[in-house]
């Protein structure tokens, strides 16, 4: 197997999540163990079996001008907000050519799990109630799953390619893997990559609830998402996303960019087992982790931290623990892990992006955010779960993994390195 020697580094971060409208507030909330899960207040929630969710902490309508927002599905609104923050954070301003970049060397990879579902549903309501003439001419450009990546490419004048991986809850991580490939293959020098999701609405909530995927507890919202805890009973639907600016190390160095971390490798696999159930032995996850380590030229002994997928479902969390133990063996109980979904819920196509961003910041600051609500660890979980307060990591070079798995059996593991 040959691969390009190009190293890929993270030079800009952007996020809007259930615990913060930007990267700084999101990171602060994660370190504080603060949950963004709330009782939903929309009228339609009354008839639903699940009445909690993790809405974006800052509504995009508070950030984007009205006219701009009305032409974008909420998932694309999140993408534009994240892209602007990440772009500025990387030291760029204006479109690619204004920022001194060759537009043909700038790419976008923005993932989605379900696309512009709420735009589709609201236009279906118009069709049914008011007739075909009232369906918006913007419906298709808004609801197509590639709308966030296309809009970001227009925003930044990114002409190297705009792509949209779709692999359910691993989509955001797959976007980062795709971006790494673009840079390694020489297709781009700079790629803005990540994912967003915005489907807190009755149909997806009813559907996920009927899959038995969502927690049905509604009494104490901030305590509902409890990965690895004995009393976990499903995930909480969140929304938002994250985008990062990735660059070839050479390009970043040439312009003197600040580097948060390196994305050293990616590993992917498919369970080929069941459309919704995790494969119980975790073999697909093990394969993805080993591929990521090999791709990054790392061994299991190099890994100092794992940012887990851990959605708080009974079967999924155990399968992930089994897989980590299979890879790390006796060392497993000494590797601090965390599960951000305990605070931000499950952002579906945005999850892998936000959690990778958390992994990057964990390496950058040397601090592992705690997992909330782990009051009583499940006897079948054998992991060193960081709880209550952040855990300090050693100084110097370190490597960490981010796990992301999706309905359909998609497994994506990313390896990050602090150099």
């Amino acid at each position: 197997m040959t691969r390009s020697q190009a190293r890929v580094v993270v030079t800009g971060l952007g996020a809007t999540t259930p615990v913060g409208g930007d990267v700084a507030s999101t990171w602060e909330s994660l370190l504080a163990g603060r949950s963004g899960v709330r009782k939903l207040t929309q009228e339609w929630v009354a008839d639903l079996p699940v009445q909690i969710g993790a809405p974006a902490a800052v509504d995009p309508s508070e950030v984007l001008p009205r006219v701009e927002a009305r032409r974008l599905d909420r998932s694309a609104q999140f993408a534009i907000i994240c892209a602007r923050e990440a772009w500025a954070d990387a030291g760029f301003s204006g479109k690619a050519s204004e920022a001194g970049l060759d537009p043909e060397r700038v790419g976008v990879v923005c993932a989605s799990g379900i696309g512009g579902l709420t735009t589709l549903l609201s236009n279906y309501d118009l069709l049914r109630d008011s007739g075909p003439r009232r369906v918006s001419p913007l419906a298709i450009p808004m609801l197509m799953p590639n709308s966030p990546s296309a809009n970001v490419s227009i925003e930044l004048q990114a002409q190297a390619g705009a792509h949209t991986p779709v692999s359910a809850c691993s989509s955001g991580a797959e976007a980062l893997a795709y971006a790494v490939d673009m840079i390694r293959l020489g297709r781009a020098d700079v790629v803005v990559a990540g994912g967003t999701e915005a489907v807190i609405s009755p149909l997806p909530i009813a559907a996920f609830a009927n899959m038995m995927a969502l927690s049905k507890r509604s009494d104490d919202p901030t305590a509902v998402s409890r990965p690895f805890d004995k009393n976990r009973d499903g995930f909480v639907l969140g929304e938002g996303g994250a985008l990062m600016v990735l660059e070839s190390a050479e390009h970043a160095e040439a312009r003197g960019a600040r580097v948060y971390a390196e994305i050293a490798g990616a590993g992917m696999s498919a369970d080929a087992h069941h459309i919704a159930q995790p494969e119980p032995t975790g073999r697909g996850v093990v394969t993805a982790i080993r591929k990521a380590l090999a791709d990054a030229d790392l061994t299991p002994d190099d890994i100092a931290h794992v940012n887990c997928h851990a959605t708080s479902t009974p079967a999924g969390d155990i399968a992930e623990s089994v897989a980590l133990n299979a890879v790390f063996g006796d060392r497993t109980p000494s590797i601090p892990v965390t599960a951000p979904k305990s605070m931000i819920g499950h952002l579906l196509g945005g999850a892998g992006a936000v959690e990778s961003l958390a992994t990057v910041l964990t390496l950058h600051h040397g601090l592992v955010p705690p997992t909330a609500n782990v009051d009583d660890v499940d006897d079948d979980i054998n992991l060193d779960i960081v709880r209550t307060t952040p855990r300090k990591l050693d100084d110097g070079p370190l490597a960490a993994l981010n796990d992301s798995f999706g309905f359909g059996g998609h497994n994506v593991v990313l390896a990050f390195r602090r150099t």
């Binding site: 001008p65 006219v67 009305r70 003439r133 009232r134 001419p137 913007l138 450009p141």
Partner: protein, 81 residues
């Protein structure tokens, strides 16, 4: 029936709502595409909103003939009379 100025004002409100162009810029001599920078998708939105507001039908094949705000006002006046 609304006066020419009332129709222009109504149209200006719609254009402002959909595109953010200031209502006072929506004058009879202005071209939707060249002066007001309204793309074809937004134009369809403007047309559908105008149909609703003024109780008229503006067929798709007619839309391409509505180059200026004045063209649209004239069409709506005729269609409504």
């Amino acid at each position: 029936m609304a006066s020419t100025e009332e129709i222009r004002e109504g149209l200006a409100e719609i254009v402002n709502e959909i595109t953010g162009v200031p209502a006072e810029d929506v004058q009879l001599d202005k071209s939707f595409t060249d002066d007001l920078d309204i793309d074809s998708l937004s134009m369809v939105e403007v047309v559908v909103a105008a149909e609703e507001k003024f109780g008229v039908k503006i067929p798709d094949e007619e839309v391409k003939n509505l180059a200026t705000v004045g063209d649209a006002v004239t069409f709506i006046e005729k269609a409504g009379s």
